[in-house]
């Protein structure tokens, strides 16, 4: 079917072959201010089509008469005005919820809009809102941020989103930190959308700046804080260059781990707040976290322009605990998507061979907790970050981050350098000293420093 602009004839996404497609669809009526919550496993698909009314998926409006396909998703379709959905495929579970936190989301959005308007009327001298969202795992941080981002885009803004959660990637693979400005609609099926590909993309691509963290948890290792600092520097520099982004401000997604704190001290949260000059701190769920942070930041007001508003939002009833199994599948899906694309956007990564000598590999040194401080140790923080390694069979199925730094740079430089992308080690031939790599892009393997982290874990069978 030819799709012509204006003719509402969007092509049906091609159903993956491995899924038994049930052609039967049913209609689901939603009354105003309710949401349809669903969980779809990675082996099934759910199709949703808006028949009448309005509906939104984490803030992004469903286009009328477009069929959306969900796979391996736990999500909710909310309606402010009531709607009728046509639903097909199979789900693990689904239900309609009457109580949603969407009003709070909308209020938060309009409160942020206030701040953005202030920035606009100051002639971009003031910066728009700097928002950090914290809360335990599975409390709906990313969902809230997606909603905020979508609403802001809808209101004609260009918000920046910063992801500091290594468990989930944003426009990149897990284990990375990224930042991107959203000037166009947030994709519904692909999560955050897609980073640039060499061809046209049905949804405008997003331009992320990506750093490699390579660990599961911000609390382990010492690379977290320097990377946060580096990211903050890049983001603020960008905002100084770009008025539209400066007015819209930014929203930071964080890992649940930093919200645990030690005896009520949330070091990493404080670090992010100070590095990014956060002025709106949203806590999701946990009362304790809210009260600790509210106390901390209400005491600190020295200058009104530095004050931090701490807000607690209710955790949505739709938040489900995502099992480790699901999270793993999600990570693998993200990695697969990075190389091969998703849905009807199929990418062709390039498979290539490289000599051991071509790879400049650096492995994160795992810090052991019982390491002793040695007097006369000069720099407690300058113990090596990386060790140089030669390829071995252990490398198989790992992801390597290709930095923009030359392998001869100082280790701090390598650590702080943004990355060009990831390559996957498909096979290691120790006898011939050859490595088989999967690179997103054809061409020579870059001679830059490559960093191997312990996160994400091995991804067996990405290339069969």
């Amino acid at each position: 079917m030819i799709s012509l602009p204006g003719l509402n004839l969007a092509s049906q996404p091609i159903e993956p072959l491995n899924v038994p497609t049930s052609t039967a669809t049913r209609t689901q009526d939603l009354s105003a201010n309710t949401e349809y919550r669903f969980e779809v496993s990675f082996s099934r698909t759910l199709t949703v089509k808006l028949q009448s009314g309005t509906a939104e998926f984490f803030g992004t409006e469903l286009a009328p008469a477009t069929t959306y396909t969900f796979q391996g998703t736990k999500g909710a379709i909310f309606t402010w005005h009531g709607c009728k959905l046509e639903i097909g495929g199979e789900v693990e579970s689904d239900y309609v919820a009457e109580e949603t936190p969407m009003m709070s989301c909308a209020n938060l959005h309009f409160a942020l809009e206030n701040l953005r308007d202030k920035s606009v009327s100051s002639g971009s001298v003031e910066m728009g809102p700097r928002v950090l969202v914290v809360g335990p795992e599975n409390s709906g941080k990313t969902s809230l941020i997606k909603t905020m981002t979508s609403y802001a885009v809808k209101s004609g803004r260009q918000p920046m989103v910063v992801n500091l959660d290594p468990r989930q990637g944003m426009l990149s693979v897990p284990g990375s930190f990224s930042a991107a400005a959203y000037s166009s609609i947030v994709d519904i099926e692909e999560g955050w959308g897609s980073s640039p590909i060499s061809g046209p993309s049905p949804i405008p691509v997003k331009m992320p700046l990506v750093y490699h963290y390579g660990l599961k948890d911000p609390e382990e290792g010492k690379a977290f804080k320097p990377l946060v600092t580096r990211m903050a520097l890049a983001v603020t520099s960008r905002l100084e260059e770009d008025n539209a982004s400066k007015q819209a401000g930014f929203i930071i997604d964080s890992s649940g781990a930093i919200s645990q704190g030690k005896n009520g001290v949330y070091e990493n949260i404080e670090h992010i707040v100070s590095e990014f000059s956060v002025n709106v701190l949203i806590t999701l769920g946990s009362e304790r976290l809210y009260s600790d942070l509210a106390r901390k930041f209400s005491n600190q007001v020295r200058d009104p322009s530095e004050s931090v508003s701490v807000i607690r939002l209710e955790k949505s009833g739709g938040c489900v605990d995502r099992s480790e199994e699901y999270m793993k599948a999600l990570r693998h899906a993200q990695i697969r998507e990075y190389f091969f694309g998703k849905g009807d956007e199929t990418l062709a990564p390039s498979s290539q061979m490289a000599d051991f000598g071509d790879l400049n590999l650096f492995k994160l040194v795992q810090e052991s907790d019982n390491a002793e401080y040695r007097p006369g140790d000069y720099d407690a923080s300058s113990s090596p970050i990386y060790e140089k390694i030669t390829p071995s069979a252990a490398l198989q199925n790992k992801l390597l981050a290709i930095t923009t730094a030359s392998p001869n740079e100082r280790q701090e430089v390598i650590r702080d350098s943004s990355i060009r992308g990831y390559i996957y080690v498909a096979d290691v031939d120790e006898a011939k000293k050859k490595v088989k790599l999967l690179s997103p892009q054809p061409g020579q393997t870059p001679g830059n420093a490559m960093v191997l982290g312990s996160w994400p874990e091995d991804i067996p069978g990405l290339v069969s």
Partner: protein, 697 residues
């Protein structure tokens, strides 16, 4: 104590409490806290000293490692704050330590006498005189222990050599409750590990001074030639010494000399931030003209234990051993090593105060200079200050005008330098300025100070502080065209939304219309909404065009792949593109308005997709031999080389080729290699042409 300082100190203390083992991560962490809070260095140092003093003996060593790590990794100002009590901090801990941990402490001390490893700075971690005292004390103790070894005693604490007969009592003498500890610290639970005091209570814990380091906000100043400053000081010292030689009785001279020597020592051993150096320099300049010592009237002098241990050959009475027959203990012995100023407090009116507050000194030395109508020292002033220098008429400073030094129990470099921040020639009625709290550096208050006006230094500072920038009062709203519409929407409804938890829960369903009804025109393909204005319609039309363009049936054949991410620098400069913005579908108007530059622009606007072929990717332009700039083009939906042209399998800069072709009479080929088929000519012209470094808008 101001709140932030108290809070930081409390955080630091909490973290310290948990430190029970020699754990590298924990120590690194504490060091990091110290490093990130240098403005609260004094509070943190005090916390650390208190902790080392009060914690259980077996936990002292890790805490000392924290100290070590901080002074080595952070350095000043911690070396200053910790250095002044180091003797006590160290020896207190040493005395209650088990033997093996003492070894570790001695190891620490050794490293403190050396420069920080891998550092460019050749000076030792702590100034030599600080470590020398400790070293001497340790030597004594070792000697004492040596003696001890000959005694068949059960594990006894090291005792000093004594000229009094050793009384082999099973309990320590009652009058000396702070007797040195037995070797095994665990064996003495009844022994309060807190604050053993030696001799006169000289080291009453210093009330933490709140001192915001001025350099925190200071702009980097023109670098000061430290060497110059040092030589100035040296010169001043020698002149003063000469004068002192002629006039031994002159107190002012003597105190001045003392102060100068201390200052020199500080300069020699510490790294001072440029601003402080500048302040010092100003003061030195002011001192340089020989002051006419007109018998100054000193205010009643308190004995202030100075920690700038002036290493003057002093003629103070040597410390004599306690006259009574109580067995001398280590503590007393050690007290003997202290610099001589720890004498019993002198009567307040004593004409010969044994110890001087350096601040006091410099100030006092400078005041006679002023009163003798020598030009007043230039007040400390940042170079970029917008206002005229304070009046230059010399103004004798009445003693009262200076912040009462007697209220400052400890002389510290901080106070000294904070002092310099004050206007030397300020009107006498000026209040002693608070040295803390305000994050803005203190400037000399103008005689009739107005609130920071536009262009004033304070304003400038704020403005320079970039991030949540100060709003200049005059800023007229310059709304960018896109945002203007948004902000013109009714505000008042939204103004009610406070950023509070309670406010978030209030239902405000009327607002939702702003997300939907305000933009009734929806794109059926992706759900993007547009306003029903004519502008909205134009946008939607362009948006639909874009949808059409990206539905490229050939894309799949080309083998689409993920591109590399943008490098940091490019990303910072990158501007997002809105497919609905007018300038990228048509810039005919641009071309017609700048018709003179038209042909050039067209050449520059040509682009080719970055070739897949690696060899070609690396190849420069064959004409100018320069590489191509890779940018992202929304038009092509690909990374492209702008100002490029593919001719016969080679890629040239379009502008280069144009010039070449003009000369050779070759016709310019059309832009090949576009994904966009029939629309390409128009598209090629439409890519925002603002020179060679075109970004995708």
């Amino acid at each position: 104590m101001s709140l932030p300082a108290a809070e930081v100190a409390a955080d630091f203390r909490d973290a310290l409490q948990d430190l029970r083992l020699n754990s590298r991560p924990e120590i690194s962490n504490l060091t990091l806290i110290a490093k990130e809070n240098t403005e609260y260095a004094e509070a943190i140092s005090t916390e650390l000293e208190n902790h080392i003093r009060s914690t259980r003996p077996e936990w002292k060593l890790p805490a000392l490692y924290v100290l070590d790590s901080i002074v080595k990794n952070v350095g000043t100002p911690y070396t200053v704050y910790i250095g002044r009590n180091l003797y006590r901090t160290f020896m207190d801990a040493y005395l209650v330590m088990a033997q093996d941990t003492r070894k570790a402490m001695e190891g620490l001390l050794r490293t403190w006498k050396m420069p920080v490893p891998e550092s460019m700075d050749p000076r030792p971690v702590f100034p030599a005189d600080v470590t020398r005292d400790i070293e001497n004390a340790l030597t004594k103790i070792r000697a004492a222990v040596q003696q001890q070894v000959q005694r068949p005693q059960h594990a006894l604490p090291p005792r000093p050599p004594t000229n009094v007969a050793w009384r082999d009592t099973s309990t320590p003498p009652q009058n000396l409750p702070r007797y040195a500890a037995p070797n095994d610290p665990r064996a003495r639970p009844s022994f309060p590990p807190t604050t053993p005091q030696y001799g006169p209570p000289l080291h009453t814990a210093t009330p933490p001074m709140q001192y915001q380091q001025p350099q925190q906000q200071a702009q980097p100043m023109s670098s000061i030639d430290l060497a110059d400053l040092k030589s100035e000081v040296t010169q001043l010292i020698s002149t003063t010494q000469t004068m002192f030689a002629h006039n031994h009785a002159d107190l002012a001279l003597r105190t001045k000399l003392q102060a100068l020597l201390s200052l020199k020592q500080i300069l020699d051993t510490q790294t001072l931030p440029p601003q402080q150096l500048e302040a010092v320099r100003q003061q030195i300049r002011a001192l340089a003209p020989p002051p006419a010592p007109s018998t100054p009237v000193y205010p009643p002098q308190h004995t202030l234990p100075t920690h700038f241990q002036p290493n003057l050959p002093s003629n103070f009475p040597p410390v004599t051993a306690p006259p009574n027959s109580a067995p001398p203990n280590v503590a007393q012995l050690l007290a003997g090593f202290r610099p001589p100023m720890q004498q019993t407090p002198q009567p307040a009116s004593t004409p010969n105060p044994p110890a001087f507050n350096l601040v006091d000194l410099l100030k006092r030395v400078s005041s006679p200079a002023q009163s003798s109508s020598i030009p007043a020292p230039a007040p400390f002033q940042l170079p970029f200050q917008g206002f005229p220098p304070p009046n230059s008429t010399p103004m004798p400073i009445p003693q009262a005008a200076a912040p009462a030094p007697s209220s400052t129990p400890t002389a510290s470099l901080a106070t000294l330098l904070a002092q310099f921040n004050k206007p030397a020639g300020a009107p006498p009625m000026s209040q002693p300025m608070p040295m803390q709290s305000t994050p803005v550096p203190q400037f000399p208050p103008q005689p009739n100070t107005a609130p920071p006006t536009l262009g004033s230094a304070e304003w400038l500072l704020k403005a320079l502080g970039s991030v949540p920038g100060a709003t200049p009062a005059i800023s007229t709203p310059i709304a960018s065209q896109q945002m203007a519409r948004q902000s013109s929407a009714p505000f008042n409804v939204m103004d009610q939304i406070e950023l509070t938890t309670v406010s978030m829960k209030k239902p405000r369903l009327h607002l939702i219309s702003r997300l939907y009804e305000a933009k009734p025109n929806i794109c059926a393909t992706c759900g993007r909404r547009f306003e029903s204005t004519s502008e909205g319609k134009e946008k939607k039309a362009r948006h639909m065009d874009w949808h059409f363009k990206v539905k490229d049936p050939d894309a799949a054949k080309r083998g689409v792949h993920r591109s590399w991410y943008m490098p940091e620098k490019e990303w910072i400069e990158y501007k997002e593109v809105d497919e609905t913005s007018p300038n990228h579908t048509s810039n005919d108007s641009n071309n017609s308005t700048s018709s003179g530059a038209k042909p050039k622009k067209q050449a520059k606007d040509r682009y080719v997709s970055v070739p897949q072929d690696v060899a070609l990717q690396q190849a420069p332009c064959p004409i100018c031999q320069e590489k191509f700039d890779t940018v992202w083009s929304v038009e092509a939906n690909d990374f492209v080389w702008m100002d490029a042209l593919s001719v016969g399998g080679k890629v040239y800069h379009a502008t280069c080729f144009e010039e070449y072709s003009k000369g050779a009479g070759i016709a310019m080929p059309g832009t090949p290699d576009s994904v966009l088929g029939k629309r390409r000519a128009e598209d090629a012209a439409s890519v925002n042409g603002e020179g060679k470094k075109v970004r995708a808008f």
